[in-house]
Each structure stands twice: as structure tokens, then as C-alpha cells.
Symmetry: C2
Subunit: 366 residues, 2 copies
């Protein structure tokens, strides 16, 4: 697993494939006048070794939920990305027709249970989402507890895969694990910071797991398909009263995991599986040839972190499309806004599912 | 379907099998000093044509949740029933070991989602119930919305049948119907009064369906396995500020349905299927030979009801174990406390399911 040894210092050098962050938070994604946030996030991603980044559809200034907001997000991202990326669309109680229209131009549908109005009939709403969303594109949800059970039932009844993002509770992971055992097509990710920070270190931050839940996540590691950066570091910054900087949590994500490798809590294979192999498969992403990340496992990083212990695993070089673009934490090429919007990429044919609930194309009318 | 015609008046006379009320509410079920409520309910049941009655585990004075409360209920019912009956036990957050012990002496497990503490991890709790409850005995729940979806998922993952009681919402019935189509082992009942009374007639009584939900129940009739009396008439009486009399709603249950037959909204077969055939099958109840209910479909009843329109379908005779016990609304035998507690009845062998979560019999320790 370790690609070579630095002879002068006995440091272990790793060569990793380009990493994939499947849940990337951009605070100001939809601001009309444009915002530097997306650019900052994409540059932070490249320096940290993430060469594909899936942008979450919800920023602090709104969500991508229809053709208009998608257009705004496309304008705010076009020609500004240092890495390949895709956009997603968020489901609401009444945007089924918008979802269908937008689907060719987004990478996935996100069903944000935690943002649904309490009065919404969630089961009927989510059932409609399953009916209209093309089978060729993934469905992601943040559902927990009985909401999680609901969406797993609907996924099972509709025979559709579903990805559960930002799992925080031991019980949720146990349910996902049981569902996997019984053959349901469910996958999940855990926020990297949730594996290392808990409500013990940050009392009152409900976005972090309790210590018991965190232990449950480590015990259930085999059921965790993907590690992601996600929105959690931004939520933590906010709950600490800090300004939420675009890209917070991206730089220390890999060092957190590599420090765990040094402590024998993870293997490099665990990381590559969950930051490259599985993300590519589950989210149907493209291969990036000539793209690698070189890391010194034993070199302490200088990246800032919420974590008080020293972190190891410095990214020394990122090669992107056969070109060295990052050296020692600095972008070393002048033209680095070459990242493509790969939202339209799919290895499968795009099909809108036939459904008894979609009659006479009425659902396509807006 | 109509067994004979009363020649003097052209009234249609029906001979029905003994009816089964699968959800019978006894207000004072657990009072230590004994209470006349159970006796009243059983006599009202006999007069109304219900010759088997499944007692709900929750009264106004508590629930059957352990060996002690089961004993109290047994003492309050022994030798006092005019009809055959069984008792059930209610699940709580922490009575798994009690459930296992009590299971041979109750007819079913009721999982009352609507009574669970909000802080309870419902998914984990219900999963444990599924793990410990014998496969030979039915599981009943009142779950709605995402709770309903949760329990359907767990039933599916555990490959166990589940019966949903007192379905009130169109959306819940639609989910049950979809689950049935996909092969899940789910059955359900609707409260008879919910088919005829709505929040239009009784504004503010949230125990009744809205008019739209009520219409949805009628449209989904094919998905409704059982009609029950249930707790709804008692809830309605309470919300109207009336004293909740033991047995309220039992006398008018069959007349409500038979009046719908006269209006061509139901057939007699619809009723027999849902008050006898299906209840017997779903709840594994015994055959009652020599037990019939004779009804005059065209004779207006004098039973009281919340319903303002005249009701038809008078019970003229009940034959129980080959003996006429009820004539013209009156019990005509002196010794009529011959109903048996059939809680232990089962056509299947009783098996506690093997489960990876139940190790070394630890769950059996109290
Ligand atoms: Zn080094
Ligand atoms: Zn730039
Ligand atoms: Zn559907
Ligand atoms: Zn927080
Ligand atoms: Zn007559
Ligand atoms: Zn008596
Ligand atoms: Zn289980
Ligand atoms: Zn009420």
C-alpha cells in the first residue's frame, strides 16, 4: 500500500488516485452577482487532493430546486473550477416537474428530509420523487430515524438504489447495515470530521455525533461506503460563532484520515475505497486518467483544523490530467480553471421511469 | 347472499356467521378492585352479533405490558364474558423480556407508535420487538405516516406479517396498498365509524378522518382487510364531552354497515369478509360451530348512534354454540357467561424466532 520510502527521513510516501468529495458545501452558491466561494472551494479541493467534487444543492443563500436556480449555479461555476465537479438538485414538496426537466443537467437528486416542512406528507412526496426521477441518476438523502426507514421502504418498493449522506447515528448505520444484509440497494457516507470530533469536544453542537454514536460509526465501518467532507465542518464553524469560510474542512479531511492510518485505526485501502473507488461507482463518475495525489504519510501538516492533536499526511503533489498542478500546497500552474462540469455524465442511458402515477405526461407540465 | 324474505313485509333476512371485533376497547380494564366494564362490553358484543372479541391492551386505566398487568386483566375477565375473547400485550420501550414471557397467554402484540415517548429510538425498539416476538402470533400497530413506513420496512426486513389497525388517512392506505402489491405481508383495518363519520360532522375531533381521507378509505376499500369497532367511538364520545360508556359504538357498528348495503355502497359479502373470514385468518382465531347471527336488513334499529340518519339492520337472533342466546336485542338465557379466554389459541406451533440480536438467551432475563 505504501508506494515508496523517503530515504532521508524514513517517511512513507503514498501515491493515491484523484480523490472524490461527494458532498461539497459552497456557502454562496446562488448569489445573483456571483461570489468567490465556489472558486475558493474548488481551489481548496485541488490542493487537498480532491479532483472531483460533487456540489451540494443547498447553500446559505438558497437551494437548486428548479431550472432558474440551476442556471444561476451554472453561471456561478462556469469556467471557475480547478477540479471536475457536478451539481445536484434538491427535492421540495412540489417541484417534481422541475426535477424531470433538470435531470439531464445535474448529477443527482438530493431529498433533504431535514429541510421538509413538517406539514408535508413526506411519504407521498418522496414516493412521487421516486416515480419521476430517471433511474440512471442517483438519489441521495439525509434522512434519519423513522424518515430513514421510510425512504428505505420506498426505495425497496420502487426497487431503486438510494444513498444516505452524513450518517451521524449508530442506530441509523445499524438500520442501513441490516437493510444491506437483506439485499436493499442502499449505500451511505459519513462526514470525515464526525469520525474524529464529537459532542464531547464541542458540547451543544448537535451536528456532531455523541461519543456513543461516534464509536458506533467506527464499529460499523464496514457498512460505510464513502467518506465525505460534507456540510458538517461549516455547521461546526457556525455553531462556534466563527465566520463560515468557503472550503472549511476540506484541507484537513485527508490528514484526519491519514493520521488514523498512522494510529492503525484505518488502512490506506479503507481510504482509497471510500474516497475514490466507491464514490466513482455509486455516483457513476468518470475516470480521471493521469490524475494522482502524492502524500507524505509521516510529515506533519500545517493545515488548520478543529482538531487539537497534530495531524500527519501532507499532500506534496497533485497531478491532474498528466500535469503537476499542486506542489507543496501551492498551485503551480497559471491556468488552473480547467475543471469540467460533468453533471451530464452518465455511463447509463437516461430513462424516465414509466409509472402508473405519471399519467398522460401531466407531471411534465409546470 | 340474502338468506330468506320475511313474507309479511318483504323484509330481507340475513344469516351471518358469528362476527369478530378485532379491536375492542374496555375503558376500565386494569382496575384492581374489578370493574363492570368488561362484562358490559362482552354483553353489548353478544347482542350486536360479535361472538369473538379481541380486547385492546390499553384502557383508560393503563395498558397490559407485563406479567402483573396481564394477571390483573385476566382476573377482571375470567368467568365474566358472554363471548369468546382474547387479550393482547402492548409493547413499550423496554418490555421485550416481558413480551416473551407473556406471549403464550395473549393473542397478539400491539406496537402503539402513538403512545411511544418521543425520545425513544423507535426503529431500534420496534426492531427488538420483531426479534423477540414469536412468529406464530400476530403483530398489530397503529403507526401512521413515516412511522407506518418504518414498521413496514422492519416487517419486510424481518420477513414478518404486520397488521395496521385504525387506518385513518388516505395516504396511509395508499402506502399499505402499494406495499401489498409489492408482496409485503401487511393487512389493515379501518374503524367502522370512520367510514361514516368525519371531521365535517364533528369539527375538531382529530380521531375522525377528514372528508377527503374518508373518501380515500372508501375508494381504497379493496385494500381494507377488516372492519373493526376499535377505540374510535370512545374517543369521539370523549371529545364530545360525553361520559365514555363501556361498549359505546358496538351496537351501531353492524347497522352502519348494513345501512350502507341498503344504499348499495357495500355488499353483504364485503361485510362477512371483513367481520369474519379475514379476522379469523389474520388473527388465527378458532372456528365457532353452531354460531350464527340473524339480521333483518330492512328493519330500522333503535340502537343509539352518533349518526343522525336512521339505521337499518336489526339483530333478531344470535345463536351461540347451537343455543339461542339473544332474541330481539335481549339475552334470553340465564347462564350466559360462557365465553372462553382463547388468548392461548393458535393453529401454528409457538416458536420464538432465532435472531442474531438475541444471544445466549440474555433477552429472557428480566
Ligand atoms: Zn517526508
Ligand atoms: Zn481563481
Ligand atoms: Zn411509485
Ligand atoms: Zn452545530
Ligand atoms: Zn322484518
Ligand atoms: Zn353479567
Ligand atoms: Zn432483527
Ligand atoms: Zn377526538
Amino acid at each position: 500500500e505504501v508506494s515508496s520510502i523517503d530515504s532521508q527521513s524514513s517517511h512513507r510516501l503514498l501515491s493515491l488516485p484523484g480523490l472524490i468529495n461527494i458532498a461539497t458545501f459552497v456557502p454562496s452558491l446562488l448569489s445573483a452577482g456571483g461570489s468567490p466561494d465556489f472558486e475558493k472551494v474548488s481551489e481548496a479541493s485541488l490542493k487537498a487532493g480532491f479532483t472531483i467534487t460533487r456540489i451540494l444543492p443547498t447553500g446559505v443563500d438558497g437551494s437548486i430546486t428548479d431550472a432558474l436556480s440551476l442556471l444561476t449555479a451554472q453561471e456561478n461555476t462556469r469556467g471557475k473550477s480547478a477540479v471536475d465537479f457536478n451539481l445536484s438538485i434538491a427535492a421540495t414538496g412540489d417541484n417534481a416537474s422541475q426535477l424531470v426537466k433538470a435531470s439531464p443537467n445535474v448529477g443527482s437528486l438530493v431529498i433533504p428530509f431535514n429541510y421538509f416542512n413538517n406539514n408535508l406528507d413526506k411519504v407521498a412526496t418522496v414516493s412521487e420523487h421516486f416515480n419521476v426521477w430517471p433511474t440512471s441518476k442517483p438519489i441521495v438523502t439525509d434522512a434519519s430515524s423513522t424518515d430513514l426507514a421510510s425512504i428505505l421502504l420506498l426505495a425497496s418498493l420502487h426497487n431503486r438504489p438510494v444513498h444516505v449522506t452524513n450518517v451521524l447515528k449508530k442506530a441509523d448505520l445499524a438500520l442501513i447495515s441490516m437493510a444491506k444484509e437483506k439485499g436493499l440497494k442502499v449505500t451511505c457516507d459519513v462526514s470525515i470530521h464526525a469520525l474524529f470530533l464529537s459532542q464531547v469536544e464541542f458540547p451543544g453542537c448537535s451536528h456532531l455525533p455523541t461519543k456513543e454514536d461516534q464509536e458506533g460509526l467506527w464499529e460499523g465501518l464496514e457498512s460505510i461506503d464513502i467518506f465525505a467532507v460534507g456540510v458538517l465542518p461549516s455547521q461546526l464553524a457556525k455553531s462556534l460563532g466563527l465566520t463560515v469560510e468557503a472550503g472549511v474542512g476540506i484541507a484537513d479531511a485527508l490528514p484526519l484520515l491519514l493520521t488514523a492510518v498512522r494510529e492503525n485505526k484505518l488502512t490506506v485501502e479503507d481510504i482509497v475505497l471510500r474516497l475514490s473507488t466507491n464514490p466513482k461507482k455509486i455516483f457513476d463518475l468518470h475516470d480521471q486518467s493521469g490524475t494522482t495525489v502524492e502524500v507524505d504519510l509521516d510529515r506533519q501538516t500545517t493545515v488548520s483544523s478543529f482538531y487539537s492533536k497534530p495531524l500527519y499526511g501532507t499532500v506534496e503533489r497533485v497531478t491532474y490530467n498528466d500535469k503537476t498542478v499542486v506542489l507543496e500546497g501551492k498551485i503551480v500552474v497559471s491556468d488552473f480553471h480547467l475543471g469540467k462540469d460533468v453533471s451530464g455524465h452518465s455511463n447509463a442511458a437516461q430513462v424516465v421511469p414509466a409509472s402508473p402515477l405519471v399519467k398522460g405526461g401531466a407531471v411534465f407540465a409546470s
